[in-house]
């Protein structure tokens, strides 16, 4: 902001958006009433026109003055601003002229005067509409209206068909252009809407390389090779409630990963012409970059499954389950995956059958510490989306484990305190997503577990605590306890 502008001017200027809708309403209704009152049956409206036109003219002048004050604050594109400014002043002037002509025509009726009055009034409406439209463009961007226009309409309006604005996935990462393919899309999505030739917040534009290098009213945007001292990064890293934080509170924020990428780009010297292969890539950055090739790169299959949509179970089915004594709940709001707890006093054998209607949604099933035998496990294969299964302290045996063979997403399996043995657990070797297996107090041995882990190298097996030796604390201070 220029230091020469007094705060008072800016304060009043901010009222422009508040006042400007009054002249639009007044002048429009004045015009419509004027036209309407020329029909016989509506002639009684005529006396109101002058008064309304007067209100319109006054408020148009006030809005124009406030608009000029608001423009002092800067941050708008020159071209669009001056267009809107002159149209706004024009609307106020034509309103005043129309008002004067209206009064004259009331005094002495002459066809000439009336023609002039109606013409000025019509011109005023056109100018008013134009001023309003460009004002909207100043605030919301010039493609605001057409941004979501359906393609058939666009062709009629002579516009290019709309491109699907989807995040473009990178196919060849090492060959990808660091700035063009990775950094610019971030700036475009989060910064350019306020920093462009039409809306130059902070005298800064960010839509081209030249503009980025030029910086804004606070000088250079970044210091190549030094993200910590770069103005852009400082502003981004301020707490969100800070006045200076970018993007401003309430706008879509940058993600942690996007910030990491911007930081990395500046640290690597903010190059505009390098490929990814030509700069240093740390492990963390590599992980982020992988998501640009495949958004699910760093997610496990189970995470992807649970993030996917599934059809909601019927309300009625859920309440029936509740009635039958099963505790069933969605994992979270807006998530239709279900978790089920068979109460400890119940028997899994009889209740597991009742879960068939929610087989598509069931993902966490807890039958731990219940009366459950292999019979219950026979019903398990239908629950193909199971990711966690608790069977601890039940009566299941090796024989029942064959029913768990085809649960592609099973990640957590608790069998502690059951009768299973080495032979049984080998049947789990195709569960490629199994990560945690609990086998304390079973007949399984280290050898059997090692055999299973050869098939499933990522599997962590807990067989209970070992070497829980007594530790003697030696202290350097002699104490007489």
């Amino acid at each position: 902001m220029e230091q020469t502008t007094s705060d008072l001017v800016l304060f009043f200027g901010r009222f422009h958006p508040l006042i400007l809708h009054l002249p639009i309403g007044f002048l429009l209704i004045a015009f419509l009433l004027e036209i309407l009152s020329r029909f016989k049956s509506f002639a009684s409206y005529q006396p109101a026109v002058g008064f309304i036109l007067f209100l319109g003219a006054i408020s148009a002048i006030v809005a124009a003055v406030l608009g000029l004050m608001l423009a002092q604050g800067g941050g708008y594109g020159e071209e669009l601003l001056s267009l809107h400014q002159w149209l706004g002043i024009g609307a106020a002037l034509t309103a005043v002229v129309a008002l004067i002509l209206h009064w004259q025509a009331r005094k002495q009726a002459s066809p000439k005067l009336d023609k002039a009055y109606i013409s000025v009034l019509s011109v005023m409406i056109v100018v008013l509409m134009a001023a309003g439209h460009y004002g909207g463009s100043l605030t919301h961007g010039s493609d605001y209206l057409t941004q979501y226009m359906p393609n058939p309409l666009r062709t009629l309006a002579g516009l290019e068909p709309r491109e699907e604005k989807k995040a473009v996935l990178i196919t060849n990462l090492p060959e990808a252009q660091l700035y063009h393919d990775i950094i610019y899309p971030i700036l475009d999505a989060r910064c350019v809407s306020c920093h462009n030739p039409e809306k130059r917040k902070g005298e800064l534009e960010m839509h081209t390389v030249e503009a980025l290098l030029e910086g804004g009213e606070n000088g250079a945007l970044f210091e190549a090779g030094n993200p910590a001292e770069s103005h852009m990064m400082k502003r981004i890293l301020l707490p969100e409630e800070d006045e200076e934080h970018m993007p401003p509170d309430g706008k879509s924020q940058l993600t942690e990963e996007q910030i990491e990428l911007l930081n990395w780009w500046i640290a690597e010297g903010a190059p505009f012409d390098k490929k990814v292969a030509q700069v240093k890539v740390s492990e963390d950055i590599q992980n982020v970059l992988n998501t640009l090739v495949d958004p699910n790169a760093n997610k496990t299959e189970v995470e992807i499954l649970l993030a996917s949509e599934v059809q909601a179970a019927e309300e009625q089915t859920l309440s029936q389950l509740q009635t039958s004594g099963v505790q069933v709940m969605p994992l979270a709001a807006q998530v239709n995956w279900l978790q089920v707890r068979i109460p400890m006093t119940a028997s899994g054998d009889s209740l597991v059958q009742t879960l068939s209607p929610v087989a598509g949604q069931l993902t966490w099933l807890d039958m731990g510490d219940t009366q459950t035998t292999d019979e219950a496990l026979a019903a398990i294969p239908q629950f193909t989306k199971l990711t966690r299964l608790h069977l601890e302290n039940t009566q299941v045996t090796d024989n029942g484990l064959q029913h768990l063979k085809d649960l592609p997403y099973l990640e957590y399996l608790n069998l502690y305190g059951t009768e299973v043995s080495d032979e049984g657990i080998q049947q789990l070797k195709d569960l490629k997503n199994l990560r945690k297996l609990y086998l304390w107090q079973t007949k399984a041995t280290k050898e059997g577990v090692a055999q299973l882990q050869q098939a499933l190298p990522q599997l962590e097996v807990n067989m209970g605590i070992e070497n829980w030796g007594v530790v003697e604390a030696d202290s350097s201070v002699a104490l007489n306890d």
Binding site: L306, S319, L321, Q322, T323, G325, Q327, V328, M329, P330, L331, A332, A333, V335, W337, R341, M344, D369, H390, E392, Y412, N414, Y416, K436, Y438, W440, N462, M463, G464, I465, W468, V471, E472, A473, D474, S475, S476, V477, L479, D481
Partner: protein
């Protein structure tokens, strides 16, 4: 959210709010949801107000091992070699800044820096620093996440504990466990979802009050139920000698009828709470003795928790009990371990104190792990504030004391969605200020609720004309420690 307990009767105000907001209109969904475990609570399947949770829960259960008195981080987890170098020197004014002091040291003429007399070593893959006072905790270092940059606003015990447990230094707000019970309901209809275990402190431990586990303005059904050691774990639960079980049942049925008549008249939600509590107590007559009976625990479990675990009422025995409660799906277990307030004779006292908590805390983590429960059970270890880096009173070669210090202290967490083998945050080399990643009490509470699947800004209760929440108007989830 309605603070109205009993759902089959709709008050005028409730009716208007619900029908104008179109929330199910006249047919309250809760009227139609059977299978409720607790009469007179929220609408979710297990009686919680949040239906459903805001996020998928990473921690379904919490054990909070509260170390009352303010354990000295300098002797336990926060290794400060500079203090050993500068022992006896004056604390620089630039480091102390504007920190207010307690009445116990504000008149001291000098503030001599005091290094720890105990040695530190790095442990496990993560290389976490743990002192020789905590050998068992050191063994499980790779399971833990140490937060070294905790800070609080209070400087004396009572306001500081109240702040930690209820989010406000003044009395009268619901404690964390009550919020959890009210919001998330109960997974076991035979036990309260919020249980409290007090451990016998040593002489001179700071007193603890029932307000710390009180339900504040939430329905009193959600206050913590205190379990004691000895013949009557829960007071007044057992029938008097000579009363038959079915007489008790008949009495309760008639009482319920009387209560219902009164409720029809005055519509006080506390009456339905009362009905629910009588029913809960009746069920607890069976479930509590079974839960508290640790005589069937095998010897190696006792050995694991340490020799004191055989003595009812000790911290070790309570850790074992906490595990039993968690196994029975109790949602929130709040333990208190008293005796960390070492203003003088710190080296001698902290050794005894550490010994009484170290083995059992570590055993609890390992025991939960082998049962597969650590996956979704969060264990928290920490006090209400830290202690100063200078000596309170005279500093000698092997004796000194430390005063309260709110500006930085250490806590650890394990399990339930917390990154393991992580040390988060740093203090300055004097151990007086936070150098990196500060975590405020409200941040800790926000993170705890987040792990339980709750958005701390959305769990609110309207009372006295405004909405209240555990984190009041502050708190940021510490995403960096969430797995």
């Amino acid at each position: 959210m309605s603070d109205y307990c009993h759902q089959d009767i709709v008050s005028r105000r409730d009716f208007l709010t619900k029908s104008t907001l179109g929330l199910g209109g006249i047919a309250l969904s809760s009227l139609l949801s059977p299978g409720k475990l607790l009469a007179g609570t929220g609408s979710s399947a297990n009686g919680g107000t949040l239906d459903p949770l805001h996020y998928a829960p990473k921690a379904k259960r919490v054990i909070y091992l509260f170390q009352s008195g303010g354990p000295s981080q300098m002797e336990l987890f926060d290794y400060k070699p500079l203090l050993n170098k500068k022992t006896g020197e004056e604390l620089p004014a630039s480091v102390r800044g504007e920190q207010r002091l307690t009445g116990m040291t504000s008149n001291q003429k000098s503030f001599p820096l005091a290094g720890s007399v105990y040695n530190f070593q790095q442990h496990g893959q993560s290389g976490a620093w743990v002192s020789e006072l905590m050998p068992y905790t050191a063994q499980v270092a790779d399971e833990l996440c140490f937060v070294k940059s905790m800070y609080t606003e209070a400087i004396n015990h009572d306001p500081a504990i109240t702040f930690f447990q209820t989010g406000s230094q003044q009395n009268g707000r619901p404690s964390i466990g009550s919020w959890a019970s009210w919001g998330l309901g109960s997974d076991n209809k035979n036990l309260p979802s919020f249980c409290v275990l007090l451990s016998r402190g040593r002489e001179g431990g700071q007193p603890l009050y029932a307000k710390l586990w009180g339900s504040g303005f939430l329905p009193s059904l959600h206050q913590g139920v205190q379990f004691r050691s000895g013949k009557d774990p829960v007071l007044y639960l057992n029938d008097p000698p000579g009363l038959k079980k079915n007489s008790r049942r008949r009495m309760l049925d008639y009482l319920k009828e009387l209560h219902s008549i009164q409720y029809e008249k005055v519509k006080d939600p506390e009456i339905s709470t009362r009905i629910a509590q009588y029913e809960m107590a009746y069920r607890m007559q069976t479930s509590v003795p079974e839960t508290m009976d640790i005589s069937k625990e095998p010897d190696y479990i006792y050995d694991m928790y340490g020799p004191e675990s055989r003595i009812p009422g000790t911290f070790s025995a309570n850790c074992l009990l906490a595990r039993r409660l968690i196994e029975r799906d109790v949602k929130f277990v709040q333990l208190y371990h008293q005796g960390w307030d070492q203003h003088g004779n710190l080296p001698k006292d902290i050794k005894i104190q550490a010994k009484s908590t170290d083995q059992a805390s570590a055993a609890l983590v390992k025991d939960l792990k082998q049962r597969g429960l650590l996956e979704d059970t969060l264990v928290i270890w920490g006090g209400e504030f830290g202690r100063t880096n200078y000596s309170q009173g005279r500093l000698t070669k092997e004796n000194y004391g430390r005063d309260h210090h709110p500006r930085c202290f250490t806590m650890w967490m394990a399990g339930g969605g917390i990154k393991k083998g992580l040390t988060y945050g740093e203090t300055c080399e004097f151990g007086y200020n936070i150098a990196k990643d500060p975590v405020h009490v409200h941040d800790f509470q926000a993170t705890l609720l987040h792990l339980m699947g709750v958005d701390h800004e959305k769990l609110t209760f309207k009372h006295q004309g405004r909405r209240f929440r555990l984190t009041d108007v502050a708190g940021k989830v510490v995403n960096d420690i969430i797995a």
